[in-house]
């Protein structure tokens, strides 16, 4: 058969370019409370619709409704709110510190705080997490001291990673927080392997991993799903769809014809697509998936739909590649504002308390920052001694490294 017309390549376009008015009409948002909550034992085939909808609990007025409402008490909700706000305060201070030359690089998670924080609260602290660089909320929610994080960001002598890793790519064995890789998606097969080991050892801990929607194009994502499915691995595989991969809109990652949650279906895995700015929905979906993993039913893929409200990192300027009006028009709002509105509606919170807490947290972060700076910053030092770079390459230092260390004379 002859082609009717010459072949053409389709290149997906972003919804709005710089200078244009963005329209998020393409995002279908079902009413809060309208999506059914299947039993965790439901076969993936019987809940395929959950990969294409959006699980929401909180409505525009801050009311919670529907079967996914986790019915958390006010104390727990306030703890969630506080941790999200602490994460934001930390981000803002570290961002400013980067601008002042106290560190070389920083990445904020602004607008995505509900994900790390609610998910940490829904998981057990003993579960192993395999995060990306935008999950500082997860580490903070696990109670890991901000001072430790700052010492790494400032690369001072108290940096527990000994001046070897970039700022923001944290690792904490104690907090069960796996080393964040500079190489995207590599940690997904590792998360699956960790969870397989847990099952092999008949342990009771599960693993959870996170990946950006852009990085789901990597082979490692698909390899991980295959293994998770074949061995029914006790793992929760989260996809954070924040609409962008640096400058690239998610349609380039394959979001134009399908959802990222739906990637799971071909592997025979259940998928939940969730309003990622709705603290309650995120919490409930994570609990559902964790319960499934913990009871040997199997793994779950969760797509968290959110919006990267700030730049990718301190190295890019979003006004060069997206409309400046976009963040303000994102229809799922801001996770902190939404949870605080919900608490206020319950009579458990007020604008006044919100403002007071915000300024308290900022002072708290600032005090910790002063302490961290007293141990040194990237610009001013002191730093780890150069001779330490030879340690931990191998378990025992081979003779040629010993010699190189002597030659360095430090």
């Amino acid at each position: 058969m002859k082609n009717a017309a010459p072949l053409e390549l389709h290149v997906p376009e972003p919804p709005a370019r710089p200078g244009e008015v963005p329209d998020f009409g393409w995002l279908k948002i079902p009413p809060a409370g309208s999506v059914a909550r299947p039993d965790i034992a439901t076969p993936p085939n019987e809940m395929r619709g959950h990969a294409y909808t959006l699980i929401r609990v909180l409505d525009e007025q801050g009311a919670a409704s529907g079967p996914w409402d986790p019915k958390l008490d006010a104390e727990t909700l306030r703890r969630g709110l506080r941790t999200m706000m602490l994460t934001r305060a930390y981000d803002e201070r570290m961002f400013r510190a980067q601008r002042q030359g106290k560190t070389s690089f920083y990445m904020r998670c602004t607008g995505e705080e509900a994900i790390g924080v609610a998910q940490a609260m829904a998981l057990d602290d003993r579960d192993m997490v395999f995060p990306t660089y935008r999950l500082q909320g997860l580490l903070i929610a696990r109670g890991w001291p901000l001072i430790e994080m700052m010492n790494q960001v400032f690369s001072n002598t108290r940096d527990r990673l000994k001046g070897r890793q970039m700022p923001v790519l944290y690792a904490s064995k104690e907090a069960r927080f796996f080393s964040i890789a500079g190489n995207l998606a590599t940690h997904l097969p590792e998360a699956v392997g960790w969870a397989m080991a847990s099952a092999i050892k008949h342990d009771d801990r599960i693993a959870a991993s996170w990946i950006g929607e852009g990085s789901t194009a990597e082979g490692d994502f698909h390899h991980a799903l295959t293994f998770a499915s074949v061995y029914r691995v006790p793992v929760v595989l989260n996809i954070v769809n924040n609409q962008y991969a640096i400058s690239t809109f998610q349609r380039i990652a394959g979001g134009e014809e399908s959802t990222f949650a739906a990637r799971a279906l071909g592997y025979g895995l259940p998928a939940l697509r969730v309003d990622g700015n709705d603290f309650l929905a995120v919490y409930a979906a994570t609990r559902w998936a964790a319960d499934r993993a913990r009871t040997n039913v199997g793994p779950t893929v969760i797509e968290l739909v959110t919006y990267r409200a700030s730049a990718h990192s301190t190295s890019d300027d979003p006004s060069k590649y997206r409309s400046a009006e976009e963040p303000g028009r994102w229809p799922l709002g801001d996770p902190i504002a939404r949870l605080s509105g919900h608490l206020a509606r319950l009579g458990e919170w007020s604008e006044e308390r919100q403002a007071r807490l915000a300024s308290e947290l900022d002072s708290e972060v600032l005090a910790i920052q002063r302490e961290a700076e007293s141990y040194g910053t990237l610009a001013s030092g002191p730093h780890h001694r150069p001779a330490t770079m030879f340690e931990d390459v191998f378990k025992e230092m081979p003779w040629h490294l010993r010699r190189q260390r002597e030659e360095m004379g430090s």
Binding site: Q165, L169, A217, Y321, M389
Partner: protein, 341 residues
Amino acid sequence: MPKKSFRQAVNEALRQEMERDPSVVVMGEDIAGGMGAPGEDDAWGGPLGVTKGLLAQFGRGRVLDTPISESAFIGAAAGAAATGLRPVADLMFVDFMGVCFDQIFNQAAKFRYMFGGKAKTPMVIRTMYGAGFRAASQHSQCLYPVFTHIPGLKVAIPSSPYEAKGLMIQAIRDDDPVIFFEHKAMYDDEEEVPDEAYTIPFGEANFLREGEDVTIVAIGRMVKFAREAADQLAREKIDCTVLDPRTTSPLDIGSILESVRETGRLVVVDEANPRCNMATDISAQAAEQAFDALKAPIRMVSPPHVPVPFSPALEDEFIPSVEKIGAAVRSVMAAPARRAA
């Protein structure tokens, strides 16, 4: 002649080749971004702005943002190259090669051979390498020795903006796969670069300075350091030849040996980790083929055999320095002259 940065030189090479030859396309993560926004913002041009302006001029069919799958876009570039298209794939950091080695080593490098000489793979992979960017061990490696090792791959490592433009145009016109290494600490380096297109042939070393006492062979960014060291040494009356091989595959070993025969002393400077790097390779070839001419043991200046650390205090010690090159040269000058066999 106008001064241009390394970044502009690569950009200009891409633009001129795309103008000359409609089969040249560029692809990679984040190279287009803004997608057709007007004016200055016409294209974001990648994290380091090297492809800026190409989208506006050549359109979305020839400047492609790709999904984040190195394996897929390097494989796609190889497949497209086999049809005669000349893709220039942008791999960002060379460290990301880890996820697409198979496409490069087992596929692109071997198409010509496995098709019995009846196929060609005219693709270029642009990639950033090197330390000094405060980017830690997973974004700072050199890795060019690994590619030099594979038959079928060509490896270009420009040492300045002028070199970058000429070698890039050569790379695009070349009918074999070329891995093109750009040092991330060199994008703002400036030098006079002609406006018109020109090529620099592969496998022809560049003599940047001729001296009688010592031959210094340096790779990529280290060429600049070697020249500085040679300037300082000249004041001590040590006269160095500085030689930039430009490409490690093919490698102009002939010129290196010729120079070693004249000076009798060799120092090789390589930013790659010291085991099986270009310094060991060049030193071994010199020892094998010019042993009789050597007046002193060969010296190699490389970083220690450790991952690149993040902290500036550690990273600065890691990178070979002008001082370390100077010390190596002085040590080969001080070595007692070998008795002729």
